[in-house]
C-alpha cells in the first residue's frame, strides 16, 4: 500500500501499464521533460525513454489523430489534453474518427486509446480551464467516458481504460488532484468500466455524483445525516456507458432522487439521469427528482466562479428540499 493523492494514482496507473505492456505510449503537450503541467506523467520519460513518453507538438488534433493511427497499428496510446477546454481542436478527430473507426470498418480497425484530460473548476484558473464537458463525449456513440473521484478509483479505472478495446475519455477532476490522500494498493488492479459504486447506503434518498462533486456531496450528506436523515450516495464512475441498473435499484428502495454535477444544467447529464429514474422508478418516487448543477452561464473567471459550481451549502439546501417535499 502507498498513500497517494489522485494525481499520484494517475501517474502510478500509467507507470504500471507501461511496465506491463510495451505497446503503451504516453504523449501530449509538455508531458515528457516536464512531466505535464500538473505532473501527471512525472518521471515516465526518464524511466521509459523519449520514444514511449514524449512531448507532442502543440496541436490537439495531431495528438488525437496521430494517436488514432498508432492505435490502429498496434499501440495503446494514452494521450493527455492539457485542459479539457483545449480539446476542441481535437474534437473533430475524437468524434469523427476515434469513436467511429470500429463501426466504419465493421471492426477491422479499432482505436484502443485513452484520452486523459483534467476538467472542472475550482482552481481559480484562466478562461477555458474550468469546463465540465462530459456530455459532449457521452452523447457520442463509440466513446466511453470515465471520471474518478478518489485516488483508489483513479488508478483502477485508468488501468481498466488502458486495457479497454475502445476509446476512453478519461476526465480527471483537477480540483481534487491533490486535495486528499488515500491508501492505494501497490500492485496493478482494475475497476470495471460501466459500473457505478454505492459509496454509502441509505434509506431516505438516493444521490448520484461524480468527480469533485462526490466529496462535496459527501460533506453535505454528513451534515444531513447528523440531522437524522439516511442518504444513499452513488458515485457514477462511468458517465458512458451509464449503469442504469444500480441507480434504478437504489431509487426503488429510497423513493427520492437527486443528482449533483459540475456541468451546466440545461441538456446536462442530470436530465439524462432523471429520465433514467423516471423510466425505471417513477411509481416509487415520493418527491420530484432534482438536479443540483451549475448554471447555464459561461464558466466565470475566478472572481465570479463561486456563483457557478454547486458547493456544500447549496447541496445541503437542495437535498433538504427533496427530503422534506
Amino acid at each position: 500500500m502507498s498513500v497517494l493523492n489522485l494525481l499520484e494514482a494517475v501517474n502510478m496507473a500509467m507507470d504500471q501499464s507501461m511496465e506491463n505492456d510495451k505497446n503503451v505510449v504516453v504523449f501530449g503537450e509538455d508531458v515528457g521533460v516536464e512531466g505535464g503541467v500538473f505532473r501527471a506523467t512525472k518521471g515516465l520519460q526518464a524511466k521509459y525513454g523519449v520514444e514511449r513518453c514524449f512531448d507532442s507538438i502543440l496541436a490537439e488534433s495531431s495528438i488525437i489523430g496521430s494517436g488514432i493511427g498508432m492505435a490502429i497499428n498496434g499501440l495503446k496510446p494514452v494521450v493527455e489534453i492539457q485542459f479539457s477546454g483545449f480539446m476542441f481542436p481535437g474534437y473533430n478527430q475524437i468524434v469523427t474518427h476515434a469513436a467511429r473507426m470500429r463501426n466504419r470498418t465493421r471492426s477491422l480497425y479499432t482505436v484502443p486509446m485513452v484520452i486523459r484530460m483534467p476538467y472542472g473548476g475550482g482552481v481559480r484558473a484562466l478562461e477555458h480551464h474550468s469546463e465540465s464537458l462530459e456530455v459532449l463525449f457521452a452523447h457520442t456513440a463509440g466513446l466511453k467516458v470515465v471520471i474518478p473521484s478518489t485516488p483508489y478509483d483513479a488508478k483502477g479505472l485508468l488501468m481498466a481504460a488502458i486495457q479497454d478495446p475502445d476509446p476512453v475519455i478519461f476526465m480527471e477532476p483537477k480540483r481534487i488532484y491533490r486535495a486528499f490522500k488515500q491508501e492505494v494498493p501497490d500492485e496493478p488492479y482494475m475497476i470495471p468500466i460501466g459500473k457505478a459504486k454505492v459509496v454509502k447506503e441509505g434509506k431516505d434518498m438516493t444521490v448520484v455524483a461524480w468527480g469533485a462533486m462526490v466529496r462535496e456531496t459527501q460533506k453535505a450528506i454528513e451534515k444531513l445525516e447528523a440531522e437524522g436523515h439516511s442518504i444513499e450516495l452513488i458515485d457514477l464512475r462511468t458517465i458512458s456507458p451509464i449503469d442504469k441498473e444500480t441507480i434504478i435499484k437504489s431509487v426503488q428502495k429510497t423513493g427520492r432522487f437527486a443528482v449533483v454535477h459540475e456541468a451546466a444544467t440545461t441538456y446536462g447529464p442530470g436530465g439524462e439521469l432523471i429520465t433514467i429514474v423516471n423510466e425505471g422508478a417513477f411509481l416509487y418516487l415520493e418527491a420530484p427528482p432534482k438536479r443540483i448543477s451549475s448554471i447555464d452561464t459561461v464558466v466565470p473567471l475566478p472572481k465570479g466562479e463561486h456563483y457557478y459550481v454547486p458547493d456544500m451549502a447549496l447541496i445541503v439546501e437542495e437535498l433538504k428540499s427533496v427530503l422534506e417535499f
Binding site: 488534433s61 489523430g65 493511427g69 481542436p89 469523427t96 473507426m101 463501426n103 466511453k144 478495446p165
Partner: protein
C-alpha cells in the same frame, strides 16, 4: 535524386512521358518490366471502366452518391505501384486506383458506395484505412501509423492522400509538422485536381505550387505531372524508399485534373467551361500510357478491346450482385459500436428487433 534537384519554389514539374506517350526524360525513366507496366495500365483502365459504369448506374437510379476518379488514374496508380503491400495508405474518398492496385475487391468498394459499412471491412492485407470524409483528417492517422511501425521495429511506410482543397485544413499543417518533427516514414500525396468541389485551387492558396509548402516543414516537396504514370511512379518510389530508410517524410504534388464532377450530386458546368475540360482530355493519363505501350509493342487495340469488354462484364456482374445484397442486418449496426454491446445498446437492439419483426421487416 529528384527530390533534391527539382525546386518546388519555381513550377518545375517532373515529367517523363508527354501527352503523346513519348518519353521526354529518358534518364528518369523508372526500371519497370512490361508486366509491371501492364498491371498498372490495366488497373487504370479498370478504374475508368468502374467510374463510367457506376455513373450510368447512378443516373439510372440504381446507385447512391458516387465520387468518380476520372482523370486521376495515373496520380493514383502510379503512386500506388511504388509502395509495398505492407505499407499503409490513409485515403480521402477519391482514390479508386489506389484501392484497386492494393487489392481491394470491387465487391467491397461497391458495397460501401451502395450504403453498407461492411464494404470497408477489407481483406486485412489491403492495408488502406477506410474512406475518410472529413477533409485532410486522415493525414494525421498516417503519421500515427508510421510512428507505430517504427516503434514496433517495422519499416512500413504510411502514405496519405489529400486533395488541393485539403491543404487549407489545419490537419494538413499538423500532420506535416508532426511527421517532420518525429521524422516518421510518411509520404503525403496531394492530388491537385484543381478543384475543391467548385472552388479553384487559386482560391485555396497563394503559393505558386503546393509542393513548396513542404519547405515550411523542413521536408522535401516536389511537383509532378500527375497525368504521367511514370513520373508519379518514379517520384513516389524515391519518396517511399527515402522514408523507409529512415530519412523522413516528403510531400508530392500531383498536378492533375478532375475530369468528372465532384460527386454525382454536383454539376460542374456551373463553375467551369467545356473548353477547359476538353483541353485536359487531351492530356488524359490513360490515353498517353496506352500510346506508349502500343508504340513499345506491349499492347494493341485487340487486347484493349478484349480487356475492356471482360472488365465491363465483371463490373456489371459485381454490381448486380451488390444490388441484390439487401439491407444491413440489424445486428451489424449494434455490434460494431463497441467491442461488446453495452446494456443500453442491448436493450435498444431488443426493442428494435421486436418492432421490426412485428412489422414484418
Amino acid at each position: 535524386m529528384l527530390l533534391d534537384t527539382y525546386n518546388p519554389l519555381v513550377d518545375e514539374m517532373v515529367q517523363i512521358m508527354d501527352k503523346e506517350g513519348k518519353i521526354v526524360n529518358p534518364d528518369l525513366m523508372p526500371d519497370l518490366t512490361p508486366e509491371e507496366m501492364l498491371k498498372m495500365y490495366k488497373t487504370m483502365r479498370f478504374s475508368r471502366i468502374i467510374d463510367e459504369k457506376t455513373l450510368q448506374y447512378q443516373r439510372q437510379g440504381r446507385m447512391l452518391t458516387y465520387a468518380p476518379n476520372l482523370g486521376q488514374e495515373a496520380a493514383q496508380v502510379g503512386s500506388a505501384a511504388a509502395i509495398r503491400q505492407t505499407d499503409w495508405v490513409a485515403p480521402s474518398f477519391r482514390e479508386l486506383g489506389v484501392w484497386l492496385y492494393k487489392g481491394a475487391p470491387l465487391h467491397n468498394i461497391f458495397l460501401y458506395w451502395f450504403g453498407n459499412e461492411m464494404g470497408m471491412h477489407m481483406p486485412e492485407e489491403v492495408r488502406i484505412l477506410p474512406v475518410s470524409v472529413p477533409i485532410a483528417s486522415q493525414m494525421q492517422h498516417a503519421t500515427g501509423l508510421a510512428f507505430a511501425a517504427r516503434y514496433r521495429g517495422l519499416d512500413d511506410v504510411a502514405i496519405a492522400y489529400v486533395g488541393d482543397g485539403g491543404t487549407s485544413q489545419g490537419d494538413f499543417h499538423e500532420a506535416l509538422n508532426f511527421a517532420s518533427v518525429q521524422n516518421t516514414a510518411n509520404v503525403f500525396i496531394i492530388q491537385n485536381n484543381q478543384f475543391a468541389i467548385s472552388t479553384r485551387r487559386e482560391i485555396q492558396t497563394k503559393t505558386k505550387t503546393i509542393a513548396q509548402k513542404a519547405i515550411g516543414y523542413g521536408i522535401p516537396g516536389i511537383l509532378v505531372d500527375g497525368n504521367d504514370v511514370f513520373a508519379m511512379y518514379a517520384v513516389t518510389k524515391e519518396a517511399v524508399d527515402r522514408a523507409r530508410r529512415g530519412d523522413g517524410p516528403s510531400l508530392i504534388e500531383a498536378y492533375t485534373y478532375r475530369m468528372g464532377a465532384h460527386t454525382t450530386s454536383d454539376d460542374p458546368t456551373v463553375y467551369r467551361k467545356d473548353e477547359e475540360v476538353e483541353a485536359w482530355k487531351d492530356k488524359d493519363p490513360i490515353d498517353r500510357f496506352r500510346k506508349y505501350l502500343i508504340s513499345e509493342g506491349h499492347w494493341d487495340i485487340d487486347k484493349e478491346k478484349e480487356y475492356s469488354d471482360e472488365r465491363a462484364q465483371f463490373v456489371k456482374e459485381t454490381f448486380e450482385t451488390i444490388e441484390k445484397s439487401g439491407d444491413v442486418p440489424l445486428e451489424d449496426i449494434f455490434d460494431h459500436v463497441y467491442a461488446k454491446r453495452t446494456p443500453i445498446l442491448e436493450a435498444q437492439y431488443q426493442l428494435k428487433k421486436a418492432f421490426f419483426e412485428k412489422e414484418g421487416k
